[in-house]
């Protein structure tokens, strides 16, 4: 009796499912056909809003300093939004913490770069803009390519971002570590012609690009060491200690660092401990004086970074004649949410200036792309326009065959715990692919576009 009823139930149930299946299939195929007809919808873009995103380190070893870059770019977007947006569209910038994707121990509560990038894809975003880090962005470039999401202005100077063949919608922004390394090498050759040069870099494309540049510039370090981020984190910075001791034992006069600020601190600390003070040459991304000084703030000795040579593709804060300086202060002061207490006398750190730089670039590119754009037309505009009114030293220029971005900068020196100053102000550049020799830059960027003021 019970069995028979169950049988009937099963049969009826299956029949209902069958009918449902047929009906849903039919309707869905029809609607699918209908929507594909007028498919001009751009992901992340509506009539009054454009959503973009980034993964940035708000936690962990790299968060020191770096967390300010994307916030500063967002200050630019908020400023533009306040003026009515670009073609009536407000820029909605979503930043996701990825803890620099720190491998090993730590950051137990923070999702990794891949997870956070997927969260951005789900929003969806028009593009990622200014996501930070060489290893982190390396790990998601294929994911973004597969989902056809532009990966713009990656906040790293690796040469990885310039491979338009393999990654057609991947764009770098700052001058690459290879070119920077060559400029450092030239400086070493002219200033310390007989010096014994040594090199310490991060064990990924950040360090290897820098080393390649130094070598291409004609300097062969007598001692080359690479540290891993995981080892740095798990040892609390102590893992670089033996390298520094080795540099001292090897009598290195000049030490080139391709390090993130946390590692720069660990190196300077270890050197101070053993009474070692070579001529430091520190890559732009690891040298921001304010960031590097943080752990030393309470120490009974002066900031050990003072006197170190670095490099910049942006104007320094000592260049008071630069109109972007006042503009930056105005923009950051307007954003009291992310920069509480920022005012006329506050220090603009290198990371803030960096964020302001590519924030402006994105706004200018959006403006150039016109009111109606798609991902394809936006990228087409980007690769066919020269942006000469930018906060950077040289104009920003991409071509279909070159996605690197900026291509010029000058040497700087750390003057105090808060300031960098140009050494002689000579801006160098290299050819578009960064493979040729360095030469003085001829075209420099100029002024602020009036619509941005």
């Amino acid at each position: 009796m019970v069995t028979a009823r169950r049988c009937r139930l099963a049969t009826t149930g299956t029949a209902i499912l069958l009918c449902l299946g047929l009906v849903t299939t039919g309707t869905s195929i029809v609607t699918a056909g209908a929507t594909t007809k007028h498919a001009v919808k751009v992901p992340g873009v509506t009539a009054n809003k454009i959503t973009i995103g980034a993964t940035v380190p708000l936690t962990g070893i790299a968060s020191a300093g770096y967390s300010d870059a994307a916030k500063a770019a967002n200050a630019v977007f908020k400023y533009i939004n306040h003026k009515g947006g670009v073609f009536g569209r407000k820029i909605n910038y979503v930043q996701k913490d990825d803890c620099y994707g720190t491998p090993g121990f730590g950051c137990t509560g923070v999702p990794n770069t891949v997870t956070q990038t997927k969260a951005l894809l789900a929003l969806p975003v028009f593009a990622t803009v200014g996501s930070l880090g060489t290893p982190t962005q390396d790990s998601v470039r294929s994911l973004l390519r597969a989902n056809k999401v532009p990966q713009l202005f990656v906040n790293s100077g690796s040469t990885d971002w310039n491979s338009p063949g393999a990654y057609p919608s991947l764009f770098g922004w700052q001058i690459n570590y290879h070119a920077e390394g060559k400029i450092f090498a030239q400086y070493i050759k002219t200033t310390y012609p007989t010096a014994n040069t040594c090199f310490l870099g991060q064990a990924d494309d950040f360090g290897s690009d820098g080393l390649a540049g130094i070598l291409a510039g004609g300097i062969a370090p007598s001692d080359t060491q690479l540290y891993t981020v995981g080892g740095l984190v798990v040892s609390g910075g102590a893992s670089v200690g033996p390298y520094v001791a080795k540099f001292l034992a090897d009598k290195c006069d000049v030490v080139v660092l391709y390090t993130i600020p946390g590692a720069t601190d660990a190196v300077l600390g270890a050197a101070l401990k053993i009474g070692y003070s070579p001529h430091w040459i520190i890559s732009n991304v690891g040298s921001d004086p304010v960031t590097v000084d943080e752990p030393f703030a309470k120490a009974p000795f002066p900031d050990p970074e003072i006197g170190a040579v670095s490099f910049s593709y942006l104007h320094t804060t000592t260049d008071t004649g630069n109109p972007w300086l006042a503009w930056t202060t105005k923009v950051l002061t307007a954003d009291q949410t992310d920069f509480p207490g920022f005012g006329a006398n506050s220090v603009i750190t290198g990371n803030m200036a960096n964020g302001i730089g590519w924030g402006v670039s994105f706004v200018e590119a959006l403006k150039a792309a016109g009111k109606n754009f798609t991902r394809a037309s936006f990228l087409n505009t980007l690769t066919h326009t020269t942006f000469s009114q930018t906060p950077s030293l040289t104009p920003l220029r991409y071509t279909p065959g070159n996605h690197q971005g900026l291509n010029g900068g000058f040497l700087t020196v750390v003057k105090s715990a808060t300031t960098l100053a140009p050494i002689n102000g000579q801006v160098f550049t290299t050819d578009a692919t960064n493979s040729g020799p360095i030469k003085p830059a001829t075209s420099l960027s100029s002024g602020i576009p009036s619509w941005l003021k």
Binding site: V2, T3, R6, C7, A10, G13, T14, L17, L18, G21, L22, T25, S28, L58, T59, A70, N74, V94, Q95, C99, Y100, G101, T102, P103, G104, F105, G106, C107, T108, G109, P111, N112, T113, V114, Q116, K118, A119, L121, A122, P135, T136, D138, S139, V140, R141, S142, L143, R145, A146, N147, K148, D160, Q202, A203, D204, T228, V229, G230, V234, T337
Partner: protein, 400 residues
């Protein structure tokens, strides 16, 4: 009597399957979607028929489990056709994670061992898949998955052997050390693993040609959105769950639970403790590796930072929240993983927090860590275990 009727039903269904298969081929290329549909419906009907046949559950549990798996997989596969790309990505991510969780659920729930290193085992599979794909770009995906499973099992064996003698905290310590050292191990094989930058898949994972040919009208649907990846993940998950359900119910599974509950008694009745523990460890790491290999397909790349100690902790949290030692718990954990980020974003928006502020960026940790504590203190069986417990007590109370 009952068996006879079920046998009859099965033979009828089998005939229906054969007939619909013949029918499908006679349709020709123009109506391939109809073929897919008829296959879907046949599977659905077969599954429903087997599942509802009385008596079969006790006489042929494996058949019923197979039917349940096939039907569920069938329905979800069908659904992916209509889901938007994001849902499919989430589905794929969640499915891959649920396989990893299933392995840990078995290890901890069935044999009582603790692993804080399953994120690293997942990484073993992920890297095995990526390295294989980089050297054999044209080999079928399933070969890559098998390579990953074997690598995971081997590494599991390597760590499982010393682990057999260890009790809880020491085992936790060893697996923790493995998880922390995993990135360093990868760095030691820089030329293979790409160091901290990791590896990219040479080409995006694409469906095999026969299937593309089959769906010629829907080719773009298969390749442009994440439906195809979701489909692979779902089928693999179905197979993984089917095997695990049988393992849980098998003699081995019962022996494991005996080891967990009372190892002295287990030895008395002739269960080999070291062997049981090693088997559990190997199975769990093979499952983790399979999940990792799927993640490589979904992410198109692999990097050491993805498989950090933090991921191991996430895995542990998810299975605790879902329900340790249960099969549905792994599914629940997978779903939580796929959607946790959206939930956190939603909370940030609803509470009006500054998304870049200190609090909002730490919300994930506060909520996840808090959930972990609350679950363990007040509902240590997790969602699935607690639900089952409540269901049973209610059934017992209701007069029949």
């Amino acid at each position: 009597m009952v068996v006879n009727s079920s046998q009859r039903r099965m033979s009828i269904t089998a005939m229906a399957v054969v007939l619909s298969a013949i029918a499908s081929f006679s349709f020709g290329s123009s109506t391939r979607v109809a073929v897919a549909l008829s296959a879907f419906l046949t599977l659905l009907a077969t599954g429903a028929a087997i599942f509802t046949t009385p008596g079969l559950r006790s006489s042929h549990p494996v058949v019923v489990r197979a039917a349940l798996t096939i039907t569920t997989v069938d329905v979800v596969l069908f659904a992916t056709y209509f889901f938007p790309a994001n849902t499919n990505t989430n589905l794929a991510t969640g499915a891959a994670m649920s396989i990893v969780l299933l392995g840990l659920s078995f290890l901890t729930g069935a044999s009582g061992q603790i692993s804080l290193g399953n994120g690293a085992f997942m990484g073993v599979g992920a890297f095995a898949m990526a390295i294989w794909a980089n050297h054999h770009a044209t080999s079928p995906i399933v070969v890559g998955l098998l390579v990953a499973i074997v690598s995971g099992a081997l590494v599991g064996l390597l760590l499982g052997l010393p682990a057999t003698r260890l009790r809880g905290p020491y085992l936790a310590g060893m697996t923790l050390a493995f998880a922390v050292a995993f990135a360093a191990i990868l760095s030691s094989f820089n030329s293979w693993t790409g160091g901290d930058s990791g590896l990219q898949l040479p080409t995006a994972a694409t469906p095999p040609h026969w299937l593309l040919g089959f769906f010629d009208s829907g080719t773009s649907l298969l390749t442009t959105n994440s439906m195809w990846l979701a489909d692979i993940a779902i089928v693999v998950t179905g197979v993984a769950f089917f095997f695990m359900a049988n393992l849980f119910a098998s003699r081995t599974g019962r022996a494991m639970r005996l080891i967990r509950d009372n190892d002295v008694a287990a030895e008395l009745v002739g269960v080999s403790l070291p062997r049981g523990r090693v088997v559990a460890f190997v199975v769990s790491s093979a499952y983790a590796a399979l999940g990792g290999a799927l993640s490589t397909l979904i992410d198109n790349a692999v990097s050491p930072s993805t498989y950090s100690f933090a991921l191991s902790i996430t895995i542990l949290s998810l299975i605790v929240i879902g329900g340790i030692g249960t099969i549905p718990g792994a599914l629940i954990g997978g779903i939580v993983y796929a959607y946790s980020n959206s939930v956190i974003t939603w909370i940030t928006n609803q509470t009006g927090l500054n998304p870049q502020g200190n609090l909002a960026s730490q919300l994930n940790g506060i909520i996840f860590g808090g959930l972990l504590i609350v679950t363990m203190l007040f509902a240590p069986l997790g969602i699935s275990g607690t639900a089952r417990h409540l269901w049973r007590t209610r059934r017992r109370r209701t007069p029949r």
